[in-house]
Every structure is written in structure tokens, then in C-alpha cells.
Assembly symmetry: C2
Homo-oligomer: 140 residues x 2
DNA sequence: TTGCTCCTCACGTCACGTGAGGTGGC
DNA sequence: TTGCTCCTCACGTCACGTGAGGTGGC
């Protein structure tokens, strides 16, 4: 077995992962501070393994789903420990189902907000039309 | 003219406004600290006028629309100064149209997240079904 | 005297952003 | 020597939440 990269042995710099996933170095360091990542070091510099990259991918996916880092952290740990995947799957399933409900509610709020904004826009356009053409203060 | 309430002369305590609008006293004090509200005082206690209430209503409406307090503040000031409503209307119109786009993008993100979650839920249910019935570690 | 509502600091939360100031290897 | 990327503090941001400790009027 060679010491050098057999595909999964590949390593990444912080910048490489940032570019790949579109996040900042500060974010990666922040996740590390929270104990969610633990890259190796070469001097002071961080060296990310293929597995670190996998964890990062899950972190960002969890974030997109609107989960707080604390919960993503839990799910990550569970995955590490739970070899059968049973406990992990049950827990994730429950949490994901909850999150779907939460997101659906958020979408409702956004829909209401958009409707409200569209109504306001219509009123403002009307107001400007009335005020507009030859009003003393109309621009130009 | 009587000194006492002719409908618009009515005043409110902080608690009354909180209950009416479903927010906390801390929030009202916070908006005041930002200069968005300026209730009268009776000793140390805050006395909100009908106009304070109107401003609060707009603040909360802006928040529901996803506007940051700083922008809500601007629109509020504009309304105060701009008697014709022309400048105000133009500015609000522009900002609202922008915000509609922003919210539509957020709704998209949420839709994608929900789809992703639903897929994950389906996979987990399948996984649990395979693992389930007579697995050594299945619960009970 | 007890309760209630009000008050003023002031630190905590969440997920980083943003400098300041410094190092290492090409 | 200049540039580049990396690093470590540490304070700032946003919109409040959450005590701690105290006051006023029924």
C-alpha cells in the first residue's frame, strides 16, 4: 500500500473546499470550533481528508434544510456511532418530517408576505399615477 | 377641546400593545432604542399614543415582509417628512418590488429544501423497512 | 405585606463577517 | 523583496431573549 492518495486518500486545503462548496474559510473554522470538523494539521495549516469533506457536505445540506448547527452536529455524531443505521435513521426520519412542516409554514408566511407586497405595489402605482403627470413635485 | 381621548387621543401601555400585536415588551423597547418609536413617559413608564401604535403596526408589517429594521426605519421617516407622498411612494414601490424578488427566491430555496427532505424521508423509510421487522436491534 | 406591572442595565444567542497583525514557502 | 495563502485572536452584526435587581401604585 502506497502512502499516497488512492482516490479516497486525497486531501484538500481550506480554500479548495471553500471553492467547491461555495462557503467561506471563516465558516469552516467556525464549524471546527463547534467540534463538527477536525481536519489534520501541517504546521498551522489545516489539511482536510475525504471524510472531512463528507462531513462538510452534510453540514451544508443540513443548513440548506434550515436545521440549526446544533442539530446537524447531533445527526453527524449519530452517523459516526450508529453502525447499523437504525437509531440514526429513525431519528433523522423524525426530525426531517418535523422540518418539512416547519418549512411549509415558512413558505406560507412568505406567500402571504408576497401577496401583501403585491397589493402594496399596486396601491403605490395607482397613487403615483394619480399624483404623477403634472404634479408640481413630480421629478424632472 | 377636551384634554381627554377623542378616539385618537387614546393611549396604550406597553402590555396592551404587546397583546394586541403579539410581540414582547423587549421588542418594543428595542425599537425605541433604535429610534423607531418614541412613546411619552409617565414617570418611568411608557405611554404609547395612537400614532406610536400606527408606527408599530408598520414596523411589524415590514418585518413580516422580511425587511431589516434599518430599512423599515427609513421608510418610516420618509412617511413622516414627505407630505405629498411622492418621494415616499416611489421609494417604497422600488423597495417592495425588490423584496418580492428576494422572497420569491427564498420560496424557491424552501421548495428545493422540502423536496430534498421528502426524498430523504422516503429513503429513510425504505431503509427502516428493510432493517426493521426482525432485526436484532429493532426496538421492542 | 403581598402581587402585579413596569423599569434599567447588561450579558447571551446564532452563524458567521471583518479587520488587525503575523507566519511560511515559492 | 514581493505575493500568495494560510493562521489566530477578538470585536461587530442582527433582533431580540433572558435573567438580575429594583420601583410604583393598588
Amino acid at each position: 500500500m502506497s502512502v499516497e492518495p488512492s482516490r479516497a486518500g486525497r486531501t484538500f486545503t481550506i480554500r479548495q473546499l471553500c471553492e467547491e462548496f461555495g462557503c467561506t474559510a471563516r465558516a469552516l473554522r467556525f464549524y471546527e470550533g463547534k467540534g463538527m470538523l477536525a481536519p489534520a494539521r501541517q504546521g498551522l495549516n489545516r489539511i482536510y481528508s475525504h471524510r472531512d469533506r463528507g462531513r462538510l457536505r452534510l453540514i451544508l445540506r443540513g443548513k440548506r434544510m434550515g436545521l440549526p448547527l446544533s442539530e446537524i452536529h447531533e445527526l453527524l455524531e449519530l452517523r459516526e456511532v450508529d453502525h447499523t443505521g437504525l437509531h440514526q435513521a429513525a431519528r433523522s426520519l423524525h426530525r426531517f418530517q418535523q422540518q418539512i412542516v416547519t418549512l411549509q409554514a415558512q413558505r406560507q408566511d412568505i406567500d402571504f408576505a408576497i401577496a401583501d407586497l403585491e397589493e402594496a405595489v399596486a396601491r403605490l402605482e395607482q397613487h403615483l399615477a394619480n399624483l404623477g403627470p403634472n404634479h408640481p413635485e413630480s421629478p424632472q
